[in-house]
């Protein structure tokens, strides 16, 4: 069981109160691979911080595995593994010592942790790097070491905060494989990401959040189904977009059009057929396109329609 209640957190800085999370109400059942998707600053890391007892919520409640994070942080820590956004291994220790000492902090004797540590390193394909100093490991290897560390005490729930940021594409794919197999073993995984593809491919269910608010919550397939009709066309114009808005909006096949500054955002069925008509409408409004970007219906287009901005 891994329900997480509605955490709410606000931090004050310089007399100005910033609400990082605002009535975010979520529950994650055991065994689920759950994704928190949102742009930088959406409140993802704060949410993970609250659930992993490292950020104190100013109001609301949050529970992990049925345990309240404020009332019993020790009980929560016993049951979770955390992979941070930036690898933070103990640099004074070798790779395998990182795992052995971390296990010892959980009261696990070396006779148990040593074979487990070696098995984890093998599973994460860094089995030959156990005796290496942390600095000698690549970014991807360090991130895998962080995953091994998060698993050494066999937690019920694994938290990953943007685990693939800064990894090259190959390392990212390898990490996806690892996460998939951990999920298949029945582990509950809660991951934050701002990569649509990652969320789409890995997660059972996704929460799209921005400015600490829950915008959408569903399976990736159903979320994509909710993306507004058709292809997203983002057109940069040589002038104010508002003038062209009316003309473009009345083009047959266009389901939705909005403008901000020089940016025109249009949703259209069958973009190939609609685009020439849109261009003619622009011409009539005395506007020329500087750049045109087409995106088929996806989490990306859903996100833009929900927040009015792109993810990355």
């Amino acid at each position: 069981m891994a329900p997480s209640g509605p955490p709410s957190h606000s931090a004050s800085s310089g007399g100005r109160e910033i609400q990082a999370l605002d009535g975010l109400d979520l529950a994650v059942p055991a065994g689920e691979f759950f994704g928190l998707l949102g742009p930088n600053g959406a409140g993802k890391t704060t949410t993970i911080g609250v659930l992993t007892t490292r950020v104190r919520p100013t109001s609301g409640t949050a529970a992990v595995a049925g345990i309240d994070v404020v009332r019993d942080p020790v009980g929560v820590k016993q049951r979770i593994g955390v992979v941070p956004q930036r690898p933070n291994p103990d640099r004074q220790l070798t790779a395998i010592q990182n795992l052995l000492f971390h296990a010892a902090y959980f009261g696990i004797p070396r006779s148990v942790s040593l074979p487990r540590a070696q098995a984890l390193l093998d599973q994460l394909e860094i089995g030959d790097r156990g005796e290496s100093k942390v600095e000698q490991l690549s970014g991807g290897q360090q991130q895998r070491l962080m995953i091994a560390r998060a698993l050494i005490h066999e937690p019920e729930i694994l938290f990953l905060d943007e685990p693939t940021v800064g990894l090259d594409p190959q390392a990212r794919l390898a990490l996806w494989e690892i996460l998939r197999s951990l999920h298949q073993q029945g582990r509950t995984i809660i991951m934050t990401t701002h990569y649509m593809e990652e969320a789409d491919r890995l997660c059972d269910r996704l929460a799209i959040i921005d400015h600490g608010k829950l915008l959408a919550l569903d399976t990736p397939a159903r979320l994509k189904g909710r993306a507004p009709g058709g292809t997203l066309l983002q057109i940069t114009l040589d002038g104010e977009a508002l003038q062209a808005l009316q003309g473009v909006g009345s083009v047959p096949g266009v389901t939705k059009a909005s403008g901000q500054g020089n940016e025109l955002t249009v949703y259209a069925e069958r973009a190939g057929e609609t685009l020439p008509a849109i261009l003619r409408a622009l011409e009539q409004a005395d506007r020329a396109p500087v750049d045109i970007r087409l995106t088929p219906p996806s989490l990306e287009t859903l996100f833009v329609s929900l927040t009015g901005r792109k993810l990355e």
């Binding site: 911080g49 490292r54 020790v74 640099r91 004074q92």
Partner: protein, 259 residues
């Protein structure tokens, strides 16, 4: 089931023993070079030149040991902690351990205390070698020596916890310039507190300096026949100061650990 806090405490100690023992030569060099050089100038060169009386070494030795153990302790805790909370974030793996955060802070203070004692043990024979026979040096009150050493190191280790969690990385130079340097000069390390009667205002003002009590405590323990502050007063001051530093330090540690 969560492990007992003491079991986790033991694991934290093992980690620090492992790391510190490898770094020990560098640590000793960093923390004791300054007092040893001072010993060489004031305990060897100046007496030979006839600028200070030979008996001065009796007042100097306990003070030098006090400085060594105090600043080894404060640095052992404060420097890694500023880095840990500031940019390396390495302490996170310990903050995820299933124990209350004060266990982790307390372990750092105990480890710092031990490092302070090691620094003093290292400086003692070196200083004795540099200065030659020291009038009044007396190891008869061994229990008092051990007690004062541990209490002084603990006080400064707790001070290190407070500094290391209250000070940001970019202020570390400021910390040494504005806090550590005046503390050494006005810490009665290089002159006994009683002799400050020559400047009564200074004698009163320096009483806010924790190093005064460590220096005087070491004097009372190592050179009991020479002038020194009453040991009961020294003990009371150090117990009070360490309680204040621990209470404040645990609070600031918790604030950094759980934002």
């Amino acid at each position: 089931m969560s492990p007992s806090p003491w079991k986790v405490f033991g694991a934290l100690v093992r980690r620090d023993v492992h790391v510190v023992s490898r770094e020990l030569p560098f640590f000793l060099l960093r923390t004791t070079l300054q007092p040893i050089m001072f010993t060489f100038v004031f305990g060897y060169l100046l007496p030979r030149m006839g600028f200070v009386q030979r008996g001065y070494t009796g007042a100097l030795l306990p003070g030098v040991l006090g400085v060594s153990l105090a600043f080894a302790s404060v640095q052992a805790v404060a420097l890694p902690m500023v880095a840990d909370f500031g940019w390396t974030l390495e302490i996170e793996d310990r903050l995820l351990a299933p124990v209350p955060t004060w266990v982790i802070a307390l372990e750092k203070v105990i480890a710092g205390t031990v490092q302070g004692v090691i620094a003093a043990l290292f400086v003692l024979p070196v200083a004795r070698l540099i200065m030659g026979p020291i009038a009044g040096l007396d190891f008869a009150h061994f229990g008092v020596v051990v007690g004062m050493t541990l209490l002084g190191a603990f006080t400064f280790s707790a001070f290190g916890l407070l500094l290391g969690t209250a000070i940001r990385g970019e202020q570390i130079g400021l910390m040494f310039g504005l806090i550590v340097a005046p503390m050494i000069f006005f810490g009665c390390a290089y002159y006994p507190w009683k002799a400050l009667a020559a400047a009564p205002l200074v004698q009163m003002l320096v009483l806010v300096n924790p190093l005064v009590y460590v220096s005087e405590g070491m004097r009372g323990a190592l050179t009991p026949s020479l002038p020194h502050m009453n040991l009961a007063m020294v003990t009371a001051a150090l117990v009070l100061l360490s309680a204040i530093f621990m209470a404040l330090g645990l609070r600031t540690f918790d604030k950094r650990a759980v934002s």
